[in-house]
């Protein structure tokens, strides 16, 4: 691939504040607040709306020329004041942007001052530093989770808090979040999931417009997370840099054991999760759920001929790419290209850990954009493309099926209901792959069998 490109063409990543915003959307009665220009919040809103098809309110400190010169303090305070007045949130998650960061605006200072004249029962103010130029939205997400934990968890609490477990689920869909909760319930292991936008970003139709949609990680639970018996952190890439994770920070501050897992996508990675939960709870989990495992294996068997040896091109957030590589490799496909805009430096190493067998011709492209992926694709000749909607052009050009998942999916319905996690998620993804391949086969055959 031509690394000599200076410009990023059709980026395969988004900016840090988006990740942070998503986290804050996943907290009970919490208003995300971007410290920067109006555009940041507007763009991110429309991007998230087009994916989740839900209202996504994100406040902004609406930088003006003056604030850029004299600092954003007044805007932050005015902004917070207005938000509190209008939305009465229980918490406000403030994420910085390239603008405020570059100005070196002292957000902590602003907040300190604001708190001084804020009533004591005012909302929690959480801040996270997310300069867009530092990394991608994935890192923004991780940073925000850590910030929440560091700023809200009370390390002073010593009362034993009945065998709870913290789950840091990484960027997964609302449907995934619901399912992960269900799995934990299967072990009757009370789980605090942070963030949890399963309701806030996939809610029912309303009678009254909710200022802030109901749902989200209960704020009253978060201070206690330091008393949990363990923290489970999803995402091999995220966890390959533990010092950035909330789990790590909790271990350091409160001595909560941290359990680092891959995203529970596919059979093996999900098995790891079940094992962890079983070990923690001393229970075996719901037999009903375990049946799904059997069904998954059964599906793998039924479908293996259609997928074996099929070449897959996978792109998206690094954690997701690793997870998908694991699933499709165990299902008998060959991940030939694994690409991501992220630049952890661990992508290849982690992928090789999850592959069923070593794969010399595997192309791992990190820090890649879609122009790069395009070029790689020409030589890699994939049979199927797996990732978010942004790969459509590529798929179209190659005339290969595109399996839409991850974020964003804004050219199809139901992005928020796509399941990636657990045995059921694996089943869903597997079926979609197999059917896509069958479709293609059917379409491209001149006979047009109706029986495959």
């Amino acid at each position: 691939m031509s690394t000599d490109y200076i410009a990023t063409r059709n980026a395969c990543k988004l900016c840090m504040p988006l990740g942070a915003t998503l986290v804050f959307k996943g907290m009970e009665q919490t208003m995300p607040f971007l410290h920067g220009s109006q555009g940041c919040s507007t763009y991110i809103r429309r991007y998230m709306i087009s994916h989740f098809r839900e209202p996504v309110d994100i406040a902004s400190s609406n930088f003006t020329e003056e604030s850029a010169v004299f600092g954003g303090g007044d805007n932050v305070k005015l902004g917070l004041k207005n938000i509190i007045e209008q939305y009465k949130p229980k918490a406000i998650g403030i994420a910085t942007t390239c603008l405020s960061e570059t100005m070196g605006d002292d957000i902590v200072g602003h907040l300190r001052e604001f708190k001084r004249d804020m009533p004591v029962d005012g909302p929690h103010l959480i801040h996270v530093s997310t300069p867009s130029y530092a990394a991608s939205h994935a890192e923004g997400f991780t940073a925000a989770v850590k910030a929440v934990v560091e700023q809200l968890v009370d390390s002073g609490i010593s009362q034993f808090y009945g065998g709870r477990v913290n789950i840091f689920p990484n960027m997964i869909s609302p449907a995934d979040l619901r399912y992960v909760k269900e799995i934990a319930d299967g072990f009757t292991l009370p789980a605090v999931i942070l963030p949890d936008y399963s309701e806030t970003l996939d809610g029912p139709s309303w009678g009254e417009y909710a200022l802030i949609p109901p749902g989200g990680t209960p704020l009253e639970d978060i201070p206690w997370m330091g008393q949990a018996c363990a923290s489970i952190s999803f995402g091999r890439i995220t966890n390959s840099r533990p010092e950035y994770t909330a789990a790590y920070s909790l271990q350091q501050r409160c001595g909560v054991e941290s359990i680092y897992l891959g995203m529970p996508v596919g059979l093996r990675e999900t098995d790891r999760l079940y094992e962890a939960l079983a070990a923690l709870s001393g229970r075996t989990g719901s037999p009903e759920q375990l049946k799904d495992r059997g069904r998954l294996v059964d599906a793998f068997v039924d479908g293996h001929k259609y997928v074996s040896g099929k070449r897959a091109l996978i792109y998206g957030e690094e954690d997701l790419v690793v997870a998908l590589a694991s699933l499709y490799s165990e299902a008998g496909l060959i991940p030939v290209v694994c690409a991501s805009g992220g630049e952890s430096g661990h992508l290849r190493a982690e992928i090789e850990k999850v592959l069923m067998r070593p794969q010399p011709d595997l192309v791992v492209a990190q820090g890649a954009d879609f122009a790069d992926i395009d070029e790689i694709a020409d030589t890699a000749r994939p049979d199927i493309i797996i990732g978010n909607s942004k790969g459509y052009k590529l798929a179209r050009r190659l005339g290969k099926p595109l399996i839409r998942l991850g974020f964003p999916v804004h050219d199809r319905m139901g992005a928020q209901r796509i399941m990636h996690c657990g045995y059921r998620g694996a089943l869903e993804l597997y079926d979609r792959i197999v059917n896509a391949l069958m479709d293609a086969k059917q379409e491209n055959s001149d006979i047009g069998y109706s029986y495959l």
Binding site: S281, G282, E288
Partner: protein, 545 residues
């Protein structure tokens, strides 16, 4: 109190019985002579004679009511007609304190299959399984305990099979108790059954996740049922001393605590009668030793703490314990100084429970009061004479039908906490593992020891001894008080308490002082009667004579 006088009362009493009854009763009734060799032998844990009006309850009461009742997050489903579930519904002061509003607490609920005649005729297993399903759908508990009541045993519902089936189907830990009321001769059988099933189905399933226990000194407290908040004050006391309470059986407890009891490094046993089986089995399977303690009474509590500290042999812990004792004792002494003069020398009788009749003597002794008669409602010989007699307790028809689990060291989890040498050393320091001396050695010469006392005998001895206060339960409460004499309930503490540990001791001193000195007893006679001679004689007057 002279042995002669006691003997005379005993004879008088036995004379009143039909011969067969007398023959049986006399073995359960002795005049204490701790010094004599060979040691006296009392008959205990034998059938109650029909019609005699005993204090005793049934096996179910011991199993569901006592041992399992206080646990908040096991859903206790009573399989039988409605009554049994109803009477054990919130009637045994089991206070509990969930960690948060979200945590399960089924204590305020009563779950029953409410068997109807057609269920009795055609069998109730189907209804039981359906009830379990409904319970899981509505409440989603971690575990469900199913309790058989009398008719279930007869119609032959297999609660264990049904439970197993539902466990496999739902993943919820469902286990049954064959605690039909007629099994055994008293609550005691129910305790044993509860112990067995908990050990088979719960203990050992837990993980470190389920329990507090980051600290060095992990202890499981057995036989503490949190009447009136005893468990709460003990939790605080342990906290103060830096001892981690991983599990309590079963005051203020959870399923997870039970499940993880084997993770403790020491088991301490309070109510020996109701739970010593679990202590033994945990030791056999996991190598966790147990010691008998008593936190009823200030001195006793100090003694118990020192025993624990000695067991761990950690100087820092010992120091901390001593410090706590000094602090607590200061307050206790103050209080005692005020109260003792007002109660000293008063006469007490206690007939209650399987350990309480023994434990509470400590408190009365501290107050300078005199115990002239005591006995248990459902204890065994070892609770009277000490565990040394266990080998020669003969198994009869009623004890044989309760399973003795055959327990072996767990291949993975067995970890002896102490070497034989260390155990020796501890014994030398007065910390005897799995040892209990029983009640009789600690009672004065000439005092009465009566097992399973009945109403008739109660009236007799009261008439003869004129005690100042009588300790028993709700059924006796108003009987005694009609006589113009206070009765202290030691099952439910008359809704007072807590009485455990140092704070508890002070509460107890005050309550007893109140009961003895309250003026209400003086008003029984109307003034216009005072002058005339009376047919009735009054306890108080006689006491004053």
């Amino acid at each position: 109190m002279s042995i002669e006088r006691s003997q005379e009362i005993k004879d008088k009493m036995l004379a009143a019985y039909p011969t067969r009854t007398a023959r049986k009763r006399q073995k359960q009734y002795l005049i204490n002579e701790p010094a004599v060799e060979p040691k006296q032998e009392i008959q205990a844990n034998v059938r109650t004679l029909p019609g005699i009006i005993s204090q005793r309850g049934c096996t179910y009461a011991g199993c569901k009511g006592v041992v399992l009742g206080p646990t908040r997050d096991i859903l206790n489903l009573v399989h039988g007609p409605i009554g049994c579930g109803y009477y054990a519904w919130l009637t045994r002061r089991n206070q509990t304190r969930p960690e948060s509003d979200k945590d399960a607490n089924y204590v305020p609920y009563c779950f029953s299959t409410d068997m109807q005649d057609q269920n009795i005729i055609f069998g109730g297993e189907k209804k039981l399984k359906l009830a379990i399903e409904e319970a899981i759908e509505i409440f989603g508990p971690k575990a469900i305990g199913v309790f058989s009541t009398c008719p279930i045993g007869l119609i032959g519902d297999d609660v264990h099979a049904a439970s197993r089936e539902m466990s496999e189907k739902t993943g919820v830990n469902v286990f049954g108790f064959s605690c039909e009321g007629y099994k055994g001769v008293s609550q005691s059988a129910g305790h044993h059954i509860a112990n067995n099933q908990l050990f088979k189905h719960v203990i050992g399933k837990g993980t470190k996740c389920c329990v507090k226990g980051s600290g060095k000194f992990k202890v499981a407290l057995l036989g503490e049922y949190n009447i009136g908040g005893d468990a709460f004050v003990l939790e605080e006391l342990f906290e103060k001393c830096g001892i981690d309470l991983v599990a309590t059986f079963s005051g203020n407890s959870t399923y997870d605590q039970f499940a993880s009891a084997h993770l403790a490094d020491l088991t301490v046993v309070m109510c020996h009668r109701s739970i010593n089986y679990v202590a033994d089995m945990i030791e056999k399977k996991y190598g966790v030793p147990w010691i008998k303690v008593n936190f009823i009474g200030a001195e006793a509590s100090a003694k118990a703490l020192r025993k624990i500290a000695e067991y761990f042999g950690d100087e820092e812990l010992k120091a901390r314990v001593e410090k706590v004792i000094v602090e607590e004792m200061a307050h206790v002494k103050e209080e005692l100084a005020l109260i003792k003069p007002k109660v000293q020398g008063k006469i007490v009788m206690l007939f209650v429970g399987g350990s309480r009749a023994h434990h509470y003597q400590e408190l009365f002794r501290e107050m300078g009061m005199k115990v002239v008669a005591a006995g248990y409602e459902f204890a065994h010989r070892d609770d009277y004479e000490g565990r040394r007699v266990i080998p020669d307790i003969k198994v009869d028809a009623d004890s044989r039908n309760i399973e003795e689990l055959d327990v072996h060291p767990d291949p993975k989890e067995y970890r002896p906490r102490k070497t034989p040498a260390e155990i020796e050393a501890l014994a030398a320091k007065g910390v005897k593992l799995k040892d209990y001396e029983g009640m009789m050695p600690e009672m004065d010469e000439g005092t009465l020891v009566i097992d399973d006392i009945n109403h008739f005998e109660t009236e007799m001895i009261i008439e003869k001894y004129k005690p100042d206060i009588f300790c028993a339960g709700i059924k006796e409460k108003y009987v005694i008080q009609k006589m113009g004499m206070p009765l202290k309930q030691l099952h439910n503490y008359d809704y007072g308490g807590p009485y455990a540990s140092f704070v508890g001791a002070v509460n107890f001193y005050r309550d007893i002082e109140r009961m003895l000195n309250t003026r209400v007893w003086k008003h029984i006679r109307a003034p216009w009667h005072k002058t005339e001679p009376l047919a009735a004689t009054y306890i108080n007057e006689l006491a004053e004579v």
